[in-house]
Subunit: 521 residues, 2 copies
């Protein structure tokens, strides 16, 4: 393949893909919803039109980036283009003499115009793109226009589309590397698979009660809480994961969950525990606890550059505070009961994170218990009780939606239809409140998954949610039977790309029950 | 990384692996079995010794191939070396100033001596190797000596070993792309995973009753029997799979199963069926049937260069012959009953395969029903009845062992311990008969697996069989509790390399039941 202005000879290997776009010089946009029914694209774009013809790509497709604005100095788009070509080469390649073809049916290359010179990936980056393939032209080029390189990357996933942009800016997947360690190659494969469905935030629930796998240079004994010395991430490996994601347009949201879900912190530093027999939540009465939190945030702030950090704060049972003498004494001195101490802890942790320039996400219990005291810019992560999102946006907070009855991937009994049907803006009517819902996230909790089965537990059910988060509300199917065939097609596309997406039929991650075509299972 | 004679400076990034070999100038070989108990190597080698020290690899490890004999013109070893480096870089890399290290602890590169100039991969190729790391030397090199490049590739899997070679020359894994189509990337990942356990034959059960996914240029309508136009392998893709395997030291045994298990052949050519209502076995009375077999073997012989081809011949129910008028008439004319026609069919197919220079493998029913009539060089593939291997070798036939009660991976109820304990030479005592057992094969039948769960259905149970097939009989554990920890370690190694190997506990491909360390599940 050649970049920029190379001139092609007439022999070569053609690659046939079903572009099927016959578009006159004027762009044709905004087609009625029914017209899209036969399209096998996932997630469904904002608007698309197409013809019925077939176009061909040369095996040595050119890439031309208009360098007046965006130079791709970091190679992010070039790398994405080469990944795209590798995927294409998996399908329907045939050798032929090009000169026997009508040359106007041959796509010679892709011209890309990216408006913004910056390749900074941050929350709210413009992910829209336009793709067009004019019929007339000899030779022909496909055209991509996007505001940023990240929109242009999305265009490479979309062989047909004319205009597209996401409904929600936060479209997340949570992975949990505490209940089971996930080797770096596994995490990278998960990141790759996210790009295919246009998910754009990897919520990395790094540590929890069971293990602490991350290197924290400021407090090097913290990772004594790892299951073993092999089941750890060095800072360099964490940085590599962040880099790998960023080059694919994916943010990494680090979660350091406290004060609950934190027993593993004390393996290396037992003074973090209220006592040796009562190990959660972390000892609120101990200054050292907050020094450690400061050290963790200081270290991760060097690597995790996403504007947000997740501070957890869920499922806090304060009995180990009220029943351990030195802690309950401290509570009395401070004039706090257990619930107030919980609030004190969360707010103090928030201050530390804010001092490192982060914006904060917290699980919903923090809002439910003391919402009026939370930092106003806290993003509330809903998972548990119905009605929380509505209350949070009514109180002016931004929200992320992960209601467990619909979007918890570890609940293998939740079918893809339930994932698809879950509407983040359910029961929210006022436009200014709708605008406060940043988006949503499917959660792959790790108690009963590991590297051997995580992919098929995530896919294809996460794809069902991915369309809910990307596609305009008026294009999302109201009846899930309308999308079965198209989702099956997407699932098989994932398999063809080496992603272990499970059959649609049955529960999550079910094995196929009998022989048959991928498209019918 | 640099090849050949580059000179290194003293700064760089070190990579620490636990080579742990402190060997004086004389090689120390053949250690008592008990000494190996703590070694975390799978499969266990013929002989190994080691010290307790730790050595370090430079990140820019050199490769020096002694070019007097083997030149690696095709790059097979170089590619293997780079894959090895990529895997190493996944673990325990730390940055440091090299000058602060005792330079005699640093491995600067690997010197490889390969005796045979040929990189031809054929049955019976010498896969032995020697690996040594002398303590003295500044700088230090690791040394690999092997008869062929394929032995040298095995040495890259073995950080400790001094001398090793396989017990059996045929160590196979069957995959089935008829019951479920397996995309090419999935097959390639399976091939990669085989190399880690030193399996060396991919038995590709390409077509069967349910679907015919392979392009056959001589009879282009055969792949109308594919589930869909996407669920197909072009000849080019099949060639790519063979090439990918060959460069990793893996043979590909193509199976074209006939006359049973062949309904899908008739989708494109209905005259292959006895009748539209009675579609198996293939019509023995029709010359066209054998023309098609000839065409198939002609086409695949251009791609599948392994000395052997598998012609199936299992589970033949002749009722569609005896009950379909034109076929039963033909039987009468030929003076054959149903069983004799079965024999006639298999022998005629064998003649065709022999004419293309292949040696033949057939399932055991051919031996059981008419062994005395089979071509003498037929390899009998045992899967069904006890005692068949013993009878076949007593009759002078070579055998491959795949007894279903122990080595069928689709039986998820068969535990790894059963896989481990299955002894191919069970009840065979005479040396000349033992020598007729080429080896064995675990079978991943595809009725209830597809790309979403094939890896964890294969691993780690196939690894248990892999040790049975590689490791000398006196080193194979008699009590499977001795190997649990070592197999768990190997399973976690697979996960670290991105292979979705399931936990050891429970049935095949069980999900982990609770949070915990990889090494304990």
């Amino acid at each position: 393949m050649r970049i920029e202005n190379a001139v092609m000879g007439r022999k070569g290997i053609l690659q046939k893909i079903f572009l099927g776009i016959l578009v006159v010089h004027l762009l044709v946009i905004a087609v009625a919803a029914g017209y899209n029914k036969g399209l096998k694209i996932w997630p469904m774009p904002v608007s698309v039109s197409h013809g019925r013809g077939t176009l061909y790509l040369r095996n040595d497709l050119e890439l031309r980036i208009d360098g007046r604005m965006y130079s791709d100095a970091s190679g992010i788009f070039k790398d994405g283009f080469f990944r795209f070509l590798e995927i294409l080469k998996g399908d329907h390649v045939f050798q032929t003499n090009i000169s026997s073809f009508n040359s106007s049916l041959i796509i010679k290359g892709i011209h890309v115009v990216i408006v913004s010179p910056s390749d900074e990936l941050q929350h709210g980056v413009d992910e829209s793109y336009k793709l067009s393939v004019p019929m007339l032209g000899d030779p022909s080029y496909a055209y991509i226009e996007a505001k940023t390189v990240y929109g242009a990357l999305h265009a490479l996933e979309a062989p047909w589309i004319i205009f597209d942009e996401p409904r929600f800016s936060y479209r997340g997947l949570l992975i949990d590397t505490s209940r089971h360690f996930l080797p770096v190659p596994v995490i990278k494969k998960v990141i790759d698979s996210m790009t295919f469905a246009k998910l754009n935030v990897l919520h990395w629930h790094i540590v929890d009660e069971e293990s602490f796998p991350l290197e924290i240079p400021s407090y090097p004994k913290l990772w004594n809480g790892a299951y073993s010395s092999s089941e750890r991430y060095s800072m360099a490996q964490a940085a590599e994961i962040v880099r790998y994601a960023q080059r694919r347009g994916i943010h990494v949201l680090a979660e350091i969950d406290a004060p609950g879900h934190a027993k593993s912190w004390g393996i290396g530093y037992p003074s973090l525990w209220p006592s040796i027999n009562c190990t959660q939540p972390l000892d609120v009465s101990n200054d050292f606890t907050f020094k450690v939190i400061d050290g963790i945030l200081s270290d991760i702030s060097k690597i995790f550059k996403y504007r947000f950090v997740h501070l957890g704060g869920d499922e806090v049972n304060t009995s180990c505070w009220t029943s351990t003498p030195h802690v309950s004494n401290w509570l009395k001195e401070q004039g706090l009961n257990g619930d107030e101490a919980y609030r004190y802890f969360v707010l103090k942790a928030q201050e530390i994170a804010l001092s490192y320039g982060y914006k904060i996400v917290n699980w919903e219990e923090t809002f439910v218990n003391f919402g009026s005291k939370l930092s106003r810019e806290t993003v509330i992560h809903h998972w548990l009780r119905g009605g929380v999102v509505q209350k949070a946006v009514a109180a002016g907070f931004q929200c992320i939606v992960s209601n467990q009855e619909s979007w918890y991937l570890d609940n293998v009994g939740t079918t893809w239809k339930t994932f698809y049907a879950n509407e983040p803006l359910f029961n929210i009517r006022k436009p200014q409140q709708k605008a406060l819902v940043m988006g949503g996230e499917v959660c792959m909790w790790g108690e009963r998954v590991d590297g051997s089965d995580i992919e098929q537990t995530i896919w294809p059910r996460a794809a069902a949610a991915a369309e809910r988060l990307w596609t305009p509300y008026d294009k999302v199917a109201k009846d899930t039977t309308e999308v079965t065939e198209r989702l099956a097609h997407f699932r098989c596309l994932l398999n063809q790309r080496g992603v272990a997406a499970a059959p649609l039929t049955g529960w999550g991650r079910a094995a196929p029950m009998e022989p048959g075509s991928c498209y019918k299972q």
